[in-house]
Symmetry: C2
Subunit: 190 residues, 2 copies
């Protein structure tokens, strides 16, 4: 996705240790027009998946997942990282390590909004080690729902997350792939 | 906003103590089409405000603020509640009490994305006691930016938040106003 690649080249910052700062347009300040284009592109790639629901994790997954769900005309569920007082017992929970927070967080989804009848498209901002996405997939399994695809905005291929998702047997689509961030570079796959 | 009022009547739950459960369409599961309509209506009401930026607080403010910003073709900034490793020093911070978490949280905005040149529209999901919105306004002031308006999706008038915002001297727009939630009821202003 050229517009996204160009934006990363213009505004992304390689902070070292594989950390890509994109908080001027994705995860602190958000460019809604870019995010709409991202959502439309992910929706296009999964147009045949017959999803009934988009699932993401708060916080930075919300914007791209919301726009993907808008384009697909589907509800979007974001897994909570703390249990709100409005959530009933019996929630699906799954631990996932958070890189940016340096600790393990719990992802929590109410059974009210994910059921065996659902065909679920998982969307997140990054596919890096894949551990957040793997946790979301475990929640889909726990709900006896059907996973139909995984989409992410930016893939850090050098962190190997895609390999861990092969066993899911669903299409994995990412809009740009970064293959190298060593020595301050940001190198794309193509 | 009739479509929103009807949705609250159909799916909202009065959990007592002024807590309105709307997590089937606003803040766990989100209806993107409804949120788009919400964003377009808030954008219409602030069309003359000449805002340069929309400001909200993670987590549940993100969806309505993103859609408002999309309709206004502006960037949206969401205040973080924990400092990501990508954020530089010198951030604007302001404490705000969180009702649903029962504790004080810190709202954090990077000075990279809010400056004296900005005209800021603050958007959140709820206007209740107004303390989250007041904290966002303090961050606007700290950045020497200009507050041009405050918008919220649902106002719980009986919690009195609007009175505390009068001193700001900007328009405060909410899309539905709930005046009473005693005895299990959900009573709208009109």
């Amino acid at each position: 996705m050229l517009v996204l690649k160009n934006r990363i080249l213009a505004e992304g910052r390689n902070l070292g240790k594989g950390i890509l700062k994109v908080d001027s347009f994705i995860n602190h300040q958000v460019d809604p027009m870019l995010m709409m284009a991202v959502g439309e592109e992910l929706a296009r790639r999964f147009a045949q998946a017959r999803a009934t629901k988009v699932l993401t994790a708060e916080i930075s997954g919300i914007a791209p997942a919301l726009m993907t769900a808008l384009a697909l005309k589907l509800p979007v569920v974001y897994a909570r990282k703390s249990r709100p007082i409005t959530m009933p017992q019996g929630a699906y929970t799954q631990e996932a390590p958070s890189h940016t927070k340096g600790k393990v967080v719990e992802l929590i989804v109410s059974p009210e909004y994910l059921s065996a009848a659902d065909r679920v498209l998982v969307v997140d901002d990054f596919l890096a080690t894949g551990q957040t996405i793997a946790a979301l997939i475990k929640i889909v399994e726990r709900a006896n729902a059907t996973l139909v695809g995984v989409g992410a905005v930016i893939e850090k291929s050098f962190e190997g997350g895609r390999a861990g998702l092969v066993g899911c047997g669903v299409p994995v689509e990412t809009l740009v792939q970064i293959i190298d961030m060593s020595d301050g570079r940001i190198v794309f796959a193509d």
